[in-house]
């Protein structure tokens, strides 16, 4: 069971908005109903006259903030509107209902122009970013891919698209802000208290120690809470202006313009191979969008740089700067859209070359990381594929498409590889022993629903050589030792590293005769820096079976299997949940997730969960995840690689490949819908 499981199932675990605060006022955001352009008037006097309204914040009266890197946080700092839906004002009132009604009534005038929001591969405004998220080169190349492609016996040249997708964690982005004794206390829903505290200190020109961020429980983030969002700035500003503690949350509808999303992508992949499927050329070129506020460049082609061997290769990213909200991280940014394209192209190549899709991948397995030449710290993709083939029943698969039919349904199976980098960041932690034989470990880690608190408790108990029931792990508070955010699947690795070192030091103190109370601390900065040069990645093989109704085009997925090689698995139960959670999100990406942009207005129109669909229980049938035990000494003391994201990476391609096997249709645009099946069948 999770350490905090009882509090969560009994409803006593508090989330950001739920803390009782004496004298709280309530804020509600006003979004631009036009844009891009300028705000020309805010008729705040009309709503200030309403009973219970305390303040209206806008560019006309907002306190000046210090500039920070993320322009989305420069709330009310100018009359500019970058995109429809941007927050242009806020109402603070005695109750939430009053604030919301006043926000509805607040008239704002705009001078706007038609939005430019269409992502197109022929856009003359496309440009090459200096680097892609977080710090990879935009383009890479080796050999002469164009010539090699032309000379290849088997060629695939296909364009794949993925739509904008929104993270939609269950808990919306929410904050309670309170100024006390010159300092700022924030109960905030985020993926990293240290990061939020540092950014807010910068914005409000405070010493880092003057900002405290508390977030013991977080109802999901999927990347959208990895950076501070306008909600935390809005709450802090409203609290400062009114002199009251302020509660603020975005509504679900508002989140579609304010809390990040996955960029749509247009990806052209060219694969050239010998007749037996041995790759000679891989070219992966990506077009995606960013905003006029801040550049975010999703690294969609980066997995192509390390997946398969080929002497001639090129990857490239081009961005369009559009009048849209800034895209950001969404579970496995880069790998998720990129591997959809690459792994569908690999399936097309397997079919064209007449090679089994698993054998094709095995045949192109590299000895070292293809572009860097670095040795892999460990790479067990082939083992995952082989094990999955055995468990899924791949060996007696007839490769012919569109030949399996029962009644009015067609069936097919597909496979795709998955990968995700084994990231690691420096972290601090402390471990303390009390006279009663209990231990307390402190670290500003975040449990966003992953089970991080439970995993860290197990890691600490192991290093302390004690029972987990004697260990309390305190997380989710910027007053605790500084830690990186829950992102990049690096939480357990980075935090666990510092926790292990702190606990080892404490154990050594105790074994050396120190008597409690005693505390030890750790900072892994030097050790992280000193690691050897290896290519460190997790791998996986994902399988799916699809069932397609010939009359309606409805696509269901009766079976999904993921086999992963992700280092040592610390906590099997939570790990399985992470894997199948990622796979379920990948199922949604494959079949239904799509944020639809209305180009006339310039916003995403299906902005709630009744219209933006994620899988329901009935969609998730026989789904399973297993793993290969890996012992990799080049990672961290626990030998872990991170498991939060890899489950989504190969899921959509596996489903799309299975759809081809079932129907003979090669659908290259996500999501795969009844409309697309019916119009093409």
């Amino acid at each position: 069971m999770r350490v905090e499981g009882r509090e969560k199932v009994t409803g006593t675990a508090r989330y950001a908005y739920e803390y009782p605060v004496a004298g709280a006022a309530y804020a509600f955001a006003v979004q631009a109903a036009a844009g891009p352009g300028r705000v020309t008037a805010v008729h705040d006097e009309e709503v200030l006259a309403l009973p219970g309204v305390i303040a209206v914040l806008s560019h006309r009266n907002a306190p000046a903030l210090k500039p920070v890197e993320d322009g989305e946080l420069a709330l009310f700092q100018s009359d500019e509107v970058a995109y429809r839906g941007q927050v242009v004002a806020a109402v603070v009132a005695e109750t939430l209902d009053t604030a919301r009604e006043a926000a509805r009534l607040l008239r704002v005038d705009y001078d706007d122009r038609p939005p430019k929001v269409r992502l197109s591969p022929g856009d003359p405004g496309l440009y090459k970013p200096e680097e892609v998220n977080p710090s990879f080169p935009a383009d890479t190349g080796q050999g002469d891919p164009d010539e090699a492609f032309g000379a290849s016996a088997v060629r695939i040249d296909a364009t794949y698209t993925t739509p904008a997708e929104h993270n939609n964690p269950m808990e919306p982005h929410a904050t309670i802000a309170e100024w006390r004794d010159g300092g700022l206390t924030l109960h905030d829903s985020n993926q990293g208290a240290s990061t939020v505290a540092a950014t807010l200190a910068e914005l409000f020109d405070l010493e880092p120690a003057q900002v405290r961020v508390v977030a013991p429980h977080v109802g999901g983030g999927f990347g959208s809470k990895g950076t501070p969002r306008p909600n935390v700035v809005l709450a802090a500003m409203a609290a400062r202006v009114t002199g009251r503690p302020v509660k603020f949350a975005f509504t679900r509808q508002q989140m579609f313009a304010t809390t990040g999303y996955r960029t749509p992508t247009i990806q052209r992949v060219r694969l050239g191979a010998d007749a037996d499927g041995t790759l000679t050329t891989i070219v992966h070129e990506v077009v995606e969008q960013t905003s006029t506020v801040r550049e975010f460049a999703e690294q969609a082609a980066t997995p192509t740089r390390m997946m398969y061997r080929a002497p001639h290769r090129r990857t490239a990213h081009r961005l369009a700067r559009l009048d849209v909200p800034t895209p950001s991280w969404m579970r496995a940014p880069g790998e998720t859209p990129g591997m959809f394209a690459l792994e569908c192209a690999m399936d097309e190549l397997a079919f064209a070359a007449g090679v089994d899709p698993i054998e094709l991948r095995v045949r192109n397995e590299p000895d070292t990381e293809p572009e860097s030449g670095l040795p892999f710290s460990s790479r067990n993709l082939v083992a995952c594929l082989r094990r999955g083939a055995e468990l899924f029943g791949w060996d007696d698969r007839d490769p012919a498409p569109s030949v399996r039919r029962r009644g009015r349904k067609m069936y097919g199976t597909g496979v795709a590889s998955a990968t995700y980098p084994a990231n690691l960041s420096p972290s601090k932690a402390t471990a303390a022993a009390a006279p009663d034989g209990t231990f307390t470990v402190r670290i500003a880690a975040a449990d966003i629903g992953t089970g991080a608190r439970t995993a860290l408790t197990a890691i600490a108990a192991e290093a302390l050589k004690t029972d987990a029931s004697r260990v309390t792990v305190e997380i989710g508070d910027s007053a605790l030792p500084k830690a990186p955010l829950a992102g990049g699947s690096m939480g357990t690795a980075s935090w666990g590293f510092a926790v292990t070192r702190a606990c080892e030091a404490l154990r050594a103190d105790l074994d050396g005769g120190a008597s409690p109370p005693v505390e030890a601390s750790a900072d892994t900065t030097e050790e992280v820096k000193a690691r050897g040069d290896y290519a460190r990645h997790a791998f996986g093989a994902q399988f799916a079976e699809v069932e397609v109704d010939v009359d309606t085009g409805e696509i269901r997925v009766p079976r999904m299997l993921g086999v992963f090689a992700a280092g040592r698995i610390v906590d099997p139960q939570r790990a399985r949940s992470q894997f199948i959670g990622g796979m379920t999100m990948g199922l949604g990406m494959a079949l239904m997730e799509e944020s639809t942009m209305d180009e006339r207005f310039g916003d995403y129109v299906n902005h709630d969960l009744a219209q933006y669909h994620v899988p329901a229980c009935a969609d998730v049938r026989d789904i399973d995840a297993v793993w290969i035990e890996e012992s990799d000494p080049h990672l961290n003391p626990m030998g872990t690689k991170g498991i939060g994201e890899i489950g989504i990476v190969g899921a959509a391609a596996a489903v799309a490949n299975a759809l081809h096997h079932a129907t003979g249709l090669r659908l290259r645009d996500l999501p795969l819908t009844p409309a697309a099946v019916l119009t093409n069948l």
Binding site: G553, A616, D619
Partner: protein, 325 residues
Amino acid sequence: MRPFAYERATTAGAARAAHTGDAAYLGGGTNLVDLMRLGVAVPDRLIDVSGLAHDRIERRDDGAIVIGAGVRNSDLAADRTVRAELPVLSQAVLAGASGQIRNQATTGGNLLQRTRCPYFQDVTKPCNKREPGSGCAARDGENHNHAILGHTLTCVATHPSDMAVALTALDASVHLHGRDPLPLAELYRLPHDDASRDTTLAPGDLITAVEVPPPGMPSAYRKVRERASYAFALVSAAVALDVADGAVRGCRIALGGVAHRPWRAYRAERLLTGMPATEESFRRAALAEMENAEPLRDNGYKVPLTANLVCRTLSDLASGEGGRP
């Protein structure tokens, strides 16, 4: 939301009398309260009719089944008589919403729910249904889920109810307080030049019950959607079919997700009656019904989908895969 008065009605007469100005009746609130939060519905008074004694399902002496307007969707779907004799209705209700919403939503409220067109639900965008004269943003916008039949320049929205589609196929009518019963076929309307009215009801009209005539044909409901549950229909079909000696003696076909109202496929019904109960007849009739379809930018797929769905549901019923009686 706009501040409003709330009162609980104890009789239909009192509810009717209390309904003045911008009042609205409150049943389960599963749609109305959402629309109030969004500023789409701004009633100044809510008259809670969930406590009225309209909470029973009864069979009248003439065989008709009368469903109180306050009967919760879950209770309706689970009712023994309904399940045995009107399987199309039970299936349709269970195909809609989620268990929690069905526990809360009422029969009358289900009939009167508003379209889920995204532009109707967003007060920053034009919508003739919400704000007459402002225009229809869906007509040339995102209309993947919109109408292919009976739409106008004014409005391309669809009616969202599954239950109403089944009731339309069953030739049901609504009982109104202080007025004559109204067949469902006359309750719902096409947008014509006024999309603001979904129905022909006058302000303050109160539905007290739904009456379903004595059933007599096997029937079935099929709903197509991108996810397996908890989604509005892309297209749905409620079909009742009576076959004797290999020929169609009678049939009723109602379609959901294709028009501003549940769409009764009269043309297909007429064509089928007396014809051999074969897949070929079914397909010909289904395609004939689609001859008047006018798909929009994003929903051309609904034309073959509807034809396939009607043909398939009829075929299944003919081969005995549908529900009794």
